[in-house]
């Protein structure tokens, strides 16, 4: 029946091996075309000049940074409720990717902000929220690393992820309250269509899709690695026991 059968590591690996080549290829196509189109085939913005082009990296990275955490939240819930190992390991595998994407988002933001606002860093709500998100990722990864027993580590990081999500959301609103900032509104949103004109919008969507597929491929790949590590560990424990 259902999706849950892929919670078995072996079945998951088999599926992952089948899906991964397509995911890598599609990610490469999406990112190459999206970035190439964005960088070379779109006009400069009338106010921001060519610096606008950094959104083709900045926005997708930020998008992954947030959604990686949301994916980890769901994976943590699945682990706590149904205790499927693949789920816990997928959350573990996604965290460093989310961290890197957060850093990319922050750096590209700074590079973009320098010519726009005349400064590398401003304590604008959106930037600040990402900085806080960065700290949450750090804490989550550090907790995984600190605990020896893998099941206990999965349990405790899941609880941290749940509680952390609530506080991350609280922080988001607290930061909004704390400062009304310089950052322009959302680049993409469904209800405000003409936020950003079509010329920029199409390559951006392609780039976001490419980054998302890249994230998927990376998570599949890294989860596979984590499963292999767990398997090695399980076999080693059995070996020690028999001698």
């Amino acid at each position: 029946m259902s999706l849950w059968k892929y919670a078995n590591p072996v079945k998951f690996l088999a599926l992952s091996a089948r899906v991964q080549p397509y995911a890598w290829a599609a990610a490469a196509i999406g990112i190459l075309i999206g970035l190439g189109w964005g960088f070379f085939a779109t006009p400069d913005d009338f106010r921001q000049g060519s610096t606008i082009k950094i959104i083709y990296i900045h926005v997708p990275a930020a998008w992954i940074a947030i959604n990686a955490w949301i994916m980890m939240l769901f994976a943590s819930l699945v682990w706590l409720v149904r205790r499927h190992h693949v789920s816990a390991l997928a959350a573990k595998a996604a965290a460093p990717i989310g961290l890197v994407m957060t850093v990319i988002g922050l750096i590209t933001g700074a590079v973009w902000g320098q010519p726009m606002w005349g400064t590398w860093w401003v304590w604008d709500p959106r930037l600040t929220s990402f900085l806080i998100l960065f700290l949450f990722y750090l804490g989550y990864i550090a907790l995984w690393e600190a605990i020896d027993d893998p099941d206990t580590a999965a349990d405790l990081t899941s609880i941290l992820c749940l509680v952390g999500s609530v506080f991350a959301l609280l922080s988001r609103y607290a930061v909004l309250f704390w400062s009304q900032g310089l950052h322009q509104g959302a680049s993409l949103s469904l209800d405000k269509e003409e936020n950003i004109s079509d010329v920029f919008w199409q390559p951006l969507v392609l780039s976001i899709a490419g980054f998302t597929l890249l994230f998927l491929a990376l998570v599949l790949y890294r989860t596979g690695t984590e499963i292999a590590l767990r398997r090695t560990r399980a076999l080693n424990v059995r070996l020690d026991k028999n001698t």
Binding site: L135, G139, A142, L143, T152, L162, F167, L170, S171, A174
Partner: protein
């Protein structure tokens, strides 16, 4: 539950319990601030609410790694986990004891340290009220952090890394309320939000902390 609270208070007040350590840290931190930013009264007055809030927060953090670690080492937590008192209640009481021995003294000391930082008179009452509403959240969130890291050797630093980001909303609303009190703006909104965070933390985090603790003991 009362026995739990009384025991923790008694332990804190006896020598070696670390009572007063947070307070001394708070004092030293505030004394160091003028050395680092200069003695100009105006500058100190404008940063005073924030500095006092940050100092209180760090002083709170200081005593957290002893909150559960000692009980973990001497087997108390094992026995508590099999006792009729729910672990959630025991942790809520431990966090209340932490607040009484750490948070409350900080609240009471804050006005005196405010004088050192040239805090304007109209700010004192709001500073105390905001700390009074916010420090329970600091203790409760800290208890949760301590429960997550109690089984880890030298988990103190890791606990700071986990707890400090969770302190962000409390710090923002608390310091904002104190700052607005000083400049005479409307303080109601941040105070309500601060109280909301404290109440939410007290209502929910004992369960998360107890769940984490059971997983560690297992």
């Amino acid at each position: 539950m009362r026995a739990m609270l009384i025991r923790d208070l008694r332990l804190a007040f006896r020598a070696g319990g670390g009572f007063g350590l947070g307070l001394a840290f708070f004092l030293i931190l505030v004394v160091l601030v003028p050395f680092s930013v200069g003695p100009q009264g105006e500058l100190l007055a404008s940063i005073a609410p924030g500095v006092l809030w940050l100092g209180a927060l760090l002083a709170c953090l200081l005593s957290l790694d002893r909150l559960l670690a000692l009980d973990f080492e001497d087997g108390t937590l094992d026995v508590l986990a099999t006792a009729p008192l729910p672990l959630e209640a025991a942790l809520a009481m431990k966090s209340l004891a932490h607040w009484i021995t750490t948070g409350l003294p900080l609240v009471l000391a804050a006005p005196f340290l405010g004088i050192l930082l040239n805090l304007p008179t109209q700010g004192f009452s709001w500073l105390v009220i905001s700390l009074l509403l916010g420090t329970p959240a600091l203790s409760m969130i800290g208890t949760f952090g301590a429960a997550l890291t109690v089984g880890i050797k030298r988990g103190g630093l890791l606990m700071s890394l986990l707890v400090l980001p969770l302190y962000v909303p409390t710090l923002i609303f608390g310091a904002e309320a104190a700052r607005r009190g000083v400049v005479g703006m409307d303080v109601q909104t941040p105070l309500f939000l601060l109280a909301g965070i404290s109440l939410g933390a007290i209502a929910l985090l004992p369960f998360a902390a107890a769940a984490a603790l059971r997983m560690t003991i297992r």
